[in-house]
């Protein structure tokens, strides 16, 4: 990593830092959502913001997701830069009308007259027995909607830099965090850092296989890479960081080097975003591929509650290691 002072932060603290820095910089940045003000958010991402910026800028709302997302759009049209929190990404289904039918299309339908600087943050993912309605990974829904950007950070440095970029972006951004990744720690530069949307990052260099993954599963892939390295297998782990826009060039560059591609995500495999990446790579890098790409994801079922079933559904490090090893054998 570059020179300069680094701080070791959790994902939560990194996101909190981004919000704080942007709110200090620009008073049009406002934050709203359920239990985000006095309490600081059920995952603590907005802790202390209301104390610093006051209840006008850091608003606790009733349980009204459609209004929260719709208000974010209205406020953006009025010139603010709202950051709305939807407590769990499953509830984005409630907010989806405002996001999908309105926010994604307002600029376009008006012939480009509006900038829509709004961010909707929400945690996705399973792994803690929260069952089918509190565990989904729904990023593919939003990547399919022209007009939305979709960001999914995997490490604290990216979380901070990408959230800052998302807030400054003049388009609606769906910013998806992972509820079982908030305590994950990593180095974050003390100075300001904006990480542009649409730029992938090679998280680990390697030669045998390109593994593309994001959010919490990216870090599971790094663990898998460590384990496989001990067996003499060298993975290159690429983090797109934003799924929309997608930095295909970085992925293709890696595939050109390794000749192999695996995509790993927590979301249901069928119709998952991994399919899009594989399709694009096959089109662009057909000649480089030594073997058909591999996809790892959840089977086509909701997340079951019971622990043995839940861990069966969500790809674990051991599963990833086994599947990749077998793929390369």
């Amino acid at each position: 990593m570059e020179k300069g002072r680094m701080r070791n932060l959790t994902m939560t603290a990194a996101l909190n830092t981004a919000l704080r820095e942007e709110m200090r910089r620009d008073e049009t940045v406002i934050v709203m959502g359920e239990d985000i003000g006095v309490y600081g958010g059920v995952y603590g991402v907005t802790i202390g913001l209301q104390r610093e910026f006051g209840p006008d800028r850091v608003r606790d709302t009733p349980i009204s997701e459609m209004a929260i997302a719709g208000m974010a759009l209205g406020a953006a049209l009025g010139g603010l830069r709202p950051v709305a929190e939807i407590m769990y990404c499953d509830f984005l289904a409630h907010a989806a009308d405002a996001i999908v039918n309105n926010a994604a299309k307002w600029r376009y339908m008006s012939g480009g007259q509006y900038a829509l600087p709004l961010v909707v943050r929400s945690p996705a993912g399973g792994g803690g027995g929260t069952a089918a309605q509190h565990s989904q990974s729904l990023e593919a829904w939003f990547t399919h909607i022209p007009g939305l950007k979709v960001v999914m950070p995997s490490v604290p440095r990216d979380a901070r830099g990408l959230l800052k970029a998302a807030i400054r972006d003049d388009n609606p951004v769906v910013f998806i965090e992972h509820k079982h990744h908030y305590t994950y720690k990593g180095e974050v530069p003390a100075e300001e850092e904006i990480i542009p949307l649409g730029v992938a990052d090679v998280k680990r260099a390697g030669t045998d296989l390109t593994v593309v993954s994001w959010s919490r599963h990216l870090t599971l892939c790094l663990e898998a890479a460590e384990i496989l390295a001990a067996e003499g297998i060298s993975l290159e782990v690429v983090d797109p960081r934003t799924l929309q826009p997608l930095d295909l060039a970085t992925i293709c560059q890696s595939v050109a080097k390794t000749g192999r591609l695996a995509v790993v995500h927590e979301a249901v495999l069928f119709g998952g975003f991994g399919g899009e990446i594989v399709a694009q790579v096959v089109q662009e890098c057909w000649g480089d591929l030594k073997q058909p790409p591999l996809r790892i994801g959840a089977p086509f079922c909701p997340i079951p509650y019971s622990e043995p079933m839940e861990s069966f559904v969500i790809p674990q490090v051991t599963t990833i290691v086994d599947r990749l090893r077998a793929y390369l054998a």
Binding site: E34, D35, V38, Y39, V42, D60, T61, P62, I63, S64, E65, M66, A67, D90, F91, H94, G128, G129, T130, A131, A132, Q133, H134, P299, F300, C301, P302, P304, Y305, S306, E307, P308, M309, S311, F312, V313
Partner: protein, 323 residues
């Protein structure tokens, strides 16, 4: 309403104590599982709100529908669910009501008219309208009871569903459990009016406020609302004012003022009912203790049943996906 008979009173008391003890046992088991490294979701307990589910559900027939919430254990038990398969569900076992697929928020028992808990706040209200529609359409006099919180009353689904029920005279009861908070948000910060019951008036329907910590008072208003619904005269909104005596769930820290907690502890619905039973209901202290002991025995057996039950085979995750 005539005073309930002693047998009814015993039944109500037993149900309330069962719910309370169930929640205590579930909490202990949750904590024990946590110490053993197993995380069992959130677990929202109904402690302090027992009088509402019991007051309403004790008047329902087995074929009436109940649509529950994330805080649904009380609704299930009051509608006749067995604590054994309920604890087994919480433990993620094969023998649970939902065979381990659902967990605490998702207990379903079609045979009891339990159409399910719901992890989506406000998600149950349109379902209740649909169940009430079915009752009307098939020419029965069944009713659908929808429980929901003060927080849920702020979802658009309340208005859309209540309007439909009012418009079509659907046999539904909307029971708002106003426990003063939605997670950490006090009701005054989410609701500009004091009585949520008033919202019904905008749809030309009765909206009644009741002391949700008084089981007999709840029963009285529920009886009228159920009769009205069965007679084809449409929905009622009952707002039962109550208080959740425990934190929102196991993963949200307590934010409420100790004085406020103490104040409401004084109004504990079970203690109040006990006082009533002893002073006016003609029941003896000995008898109440007997009921409590019986409930303890039932719950110990339920816990043993859950623990002895097999875990589901992970390979069957696809098994129930399609009908």
């Amino acid at each position: 309403m005539p005073n309930p008979r002693p047998d009814d009173l015993r039944h109500l008391y037993r149900l309330m104590v069962t719910i309370r003890r169930f929640e205590e046992v579930a909490t202990e088991r949750y904590l024990a599982a946590g110490r053993a490294g197993q995380f069992m979701g959130a677990l929202h307990t109904y402690v302090g709100e027992e009088a509402i589910a019991v007051g309403v559900c004790s008047l329902l027939r087995e074929d009436d529908f109940v649509i529950s919430t994330h805080r649904g254990h009380g609704h299930c038990l009051a509608k006749g669910a067995d604590p054994g398969p309920m604890l087994a569900e919480l433990a993620g076992r094969e023998t649970g009501y939902s065979r381990g697929y659902g967990g605490s928020m998702h207990i379903f028992a079609p045979e009891l008219g339990l159409l399910g808990g719901n992890g989506i706040v406000g998600g149950g209200m349109p379902l209740a309208a649909g169940a009430a529609f079915t009752a009307q359409y098939t020419g029965t006099d069944r009713v659908a009871v929808c429980f929901f919180g003060d927080g849920a009353s702020k979802q658009g689904t309340f208005h859309e569903s209540f309007n439909l029920c009012a418009l079509w005279d659907l046999p539904a009861l909307f029971v708002c459990e106003n426990n003063c908070y939605a997670a950490t948000t006090p009701v005054k910060d989410s609701c500009p009016i004091v009585d949520i019951a008033e919202m019904a008036h905008g749809y030309g329907c009765p909206g009644v406020v009741v002391d949700g910590n008084n089981v007999l008072a709840v029963r009285a208003v529920a009886e009228e609302a159920i009769a009205r619904a069965r007679a084809g005269r449409g929905p009622t909104l009952i707002e039962a004012k109550t208080y959740r005596m425990k934190p929102h769930c196991m993963v949200i820290r307590e934010t409420r003022d100790q004085c406020e907690l103490d104040e409401w502890a004084e109004k504990d619905p079970i203690q109040r009912f006990e006082a009533y039973l002893l002073e006016e209901g003609g029941l003896a202290a000995e008898e109440l203790r007997g009921i409590r002991d019986e409930v303890d025995t039932v719950l110990a057996a339920a816990a043993a049943f859950a623990d002895a039950s097999p875990w589901p085979d992970p390979a069957r995750v696809m098994e129930v996906l399609w009908a």
